[in-house]
Amino acid sequence: MQLKEHKLKEVLARIFNVDVNTITEDASPDTIENWDSLRHMSLVLAIEEEFGIELTDDQVVEILSFKLIKIVLKEHGIEFI
């Protein structure tokens, strides 16, 4: 399944309550102040809901940047263009 990258950026922007333009390739807890452990749970929930998947335990911990989220979603057969 191929999806627009913008859709994923919107998910993050919504969860962290920031402008979608601040979600760059390198966006991570280091660049986004709101990306704390609580919002990380919301992020996991939102990604699972939006894309209809279930992340493994390891993946839940791994997805700590926009780039890593894309890699993990690719493992679930979801690619962004």
Partner: protein, 594 residues
């Protein structure tokens, strides 16, 4: 989604994305009108996940939420520290969210006793009761899903389940003894409603001390918003309903009094009946009931006064507008007449166009559309607590006490020495008469569904029953049963045909829910007596047609006094001469004919 949500009563929670988008939109557009509601959480678990859902439901109810969370597992400290947020913020509501696993840390592994925790909780709650004017919301604890002892039970080892019940009793009793100060967030009930899979998030419990899934958090948020609404005077006060396809199924002007669907014993009439029941429950709590419908007024009164299963009566109504004018004008007129704001109105209608009209013209009115899945309709008014108030009046409480006493009385009477004594105590009363037009659908349905107590198992359509009912050669007798516990409704049928000077019994059946009380004998004898008044007959013929399922009635005609006359495969024929001795009267069944 899956088949699982077919028949689910709880509205499915919106997705987190929808919820967050809604909050963002609402917060950016409005200089946020709406009543502010300030809520502070004290907690020993990660419960921040409830915040978006709480905000979402607040904003939808015209409330402007301000939410603060205390520090993780600092409940006692923050309660005792008079400079903590729950005192300096002067919140409207303090939510105490306690999770047992954190509370007990690891001591519960060894088997634990609730006494110490109960002591601690009682102290905590009492301190809050003395020192804050805020409403305090406290929760019940989650009982274990699995037992430590497996399938064994032990009198020596303390049972986790039992201890949790003790704690929950303390919580419930504390709320009960502090009306309008403490409110209950019944986590135990939430989990009963949703089930373990929809409630418990073991992943985030072990990773982040956040034990609840979205479904649970949404339900928790809805319950908290009910409290907020009641506190801010946002409770609804008046329920206004359409009539056709809302109070009953069908259109009375076209289908007629007996064509509408409101039979409490069959679908979908029973869903409308139960909806009416929930309307009357609201009325008992002081909610005003009104009608706003496009009908001939006389048709509506006829249903309310004459339909045997219409619970709503004219004297229950605070006001009505039954006419052909537009409903927005009618609702405005009702608001004037009742001297209430439109924002205290809840309007129920089946028609999306009418609902849309009101939504556009009178956005203050809360609109509930009759659901397409009618089996969820009886829960429509119960689910959202729109009419909830923080306390009930003294009269309301007295009424529920009377109900309690009645229940106890029944409990006391539960011991009998003989079956006869038991049956006598039931105060059985049956109504036996020629079928009335309104009973035709139910009678046809009984012939189609009844298998066990059915002497001939002949299936009839509604049209066939209707034509027999109008044919002087046929008699259809109906049976309705009542006892001290309530009304079982129309549950038996006898159909007979006149052939020369002989009465031939075509059908005799009873619904299985009224069996075992000798009602069948009383009904059959009474039916013959009623028919004999109209027909000159000097003998009765009857038949038993054996099926896989009706063995229990093979001997019934003999029991009544009939003699076997012939036999042919599955058919056995019987005869009863007028001078024959019939079964003696069943003394403990009172018989009415009207």
């Amino acid at each position: 989604m899956s088949d699982l949500d077919v028949g689910m009563s709880t509205a499915k929670a919106a997705s987190l994305s929808e919820v967050l988008d809604f909050i963002n939109a609402a917060e950016s557009t409005a200089e946020s009108g709406g009543f502010p509601i300030k809520v502070n959480f004290l907690r020993n678990l990660t419960i921040e996940g409830v915040e978006p859902f709480f905000k979402y439901h607040c904003l939808k109810s015209g409330l402007k939420p301000l939410v603060t969370f205390g520090n993780y597992d600092m409940v006692r400290q923050e309660v005792l520290d008079r400079t903590s947020h729950i005192y300096t913020d002067t919140p409207d509501v303090i939510v105490v969210a306690l999770y047992l696993e954190t509370y007990l840390s690891d001591q519960w592994l060894a088997g634990w006793n609730a006494a110490e925790v109960m002591n601690d909780l009682a102290g905590l709650f009492a301190y809050l009761a003395r020192n804050t004017a805020a409403i305090v919301a406290i929760n019940t604890f989650v009982p274990p899903f699995y037992t430590d002892l497996g399938i064994t039970s032990s009198t020596e080892l303390p049972s986790h389940d039992y201890e949790v019940q003790q704690l929950n009793r303390l919580v419930r009793d504390f709320v009960r003894s502090h009306p309008s100060r403490f409110v209950l967030m019944d986590w135990e009930r939430f989990i009963r409603q949703l089930g373990e899979n929809e409630s418990m998030d073991y992943r985030f419990w072990y990773m982040s001390k956040a034990p609840f899934k979205k479904g649970f958090l949404d339900l928790y948020a809805r319950e908290l918003v009910k409290v907020a609404r009641a506190l801010k005077g946002k409770s609804k006060k008046c329920l206004i309903m359409d009539c056709d396809n809302t109070l009953w199924g069908g259109i009375v002007g076209e289908d007629g009094l007996h064509g509408i669907k409101l039979d409490r014993h069959s679908y979908p009439g029973n869903t409308f009946y139960q909806f009416q029941n929930s309307v009357l429950k609201l009325r008992e709590r002081g909610v005003l009931i009104a009608l706003c419908s496009k009908n001939n007024e006389q048709d509506v009164w006829e249903v309310l006064e004459s339909h045997p299963h219409c619970l709503l009566k004219r004297e229950h109504l605070a006001a009505w507008r039954v006419n052909w004018q537009d409903k927005a004008s009618n609702l405005r007129a009702l608001a004037g007449e009742l001297n209430l704001g439109l924002d205290s109105f809840v309007f129920v209608d089946d028609n999306p166009a009418e609902c849309g009209l009101i939504r556009d013209l009178l956005p203050e009115v809360t609109i509930l559309q009759v659901p397409e899945k009618l089996y969820t309709y009886p829960l429509l008014l119960k689910r959202d607590g729109l009419f909830d108030t923080l306390t009930l009046s003294a009269e309301d409480r007295q009424r529920s006490r009377m109900y309690c006493e009645e229940a106890n009385r029944k409990h006391e009477q539960a011991k009998y020495d003989t079956l006869e004594q038991y049956l006598e105590s039931l105060a059985l009363s049956i109504t036996v008469h020629h079928a009335k037009p309104g009973e035709v659908p139910r009678i046809a349905q009984l012939t189609q569904k009844t298998n066990q107590f059915n002497l001939t198992t002949r299936r009839y359509s509604e049209a066939q029953i209707a034509s027999y009912a109008n044919d002087p050669e046929y008699a259809i007798i109906s049976l309705s049963v009542r006892d001290k516990f309530g009304d079982s409704g129309l549950t038996g049928v006898l159909i007979a045909r006149k052939v020369a000077d002989c009465g031939v019994i075509d059908t005799l059946l009873l619904s299985c829910r009224v069996l075992g009380r000798n009602i069948e004998v009383a009904f059959a004898l009474k039916s013959l007596e009623i028919i004999e008044r109209g027909w000159q007959v000097n003998a009765w013929q009857a038949e038993y047609v054996a099926t896989q399922k009706n063995r229990q009635v093979a001997g019934f005609w003999k029991l009544l006094g009939f003699m076997e006359s012939s036999h042919q495969e599955v058919h056995t024929f019987y005869e009863l001469r007028n001078n024959a001795v019939r079964h003696e009267e069943i003394t403990y069944v009172a018989i009415e004919e009207e």
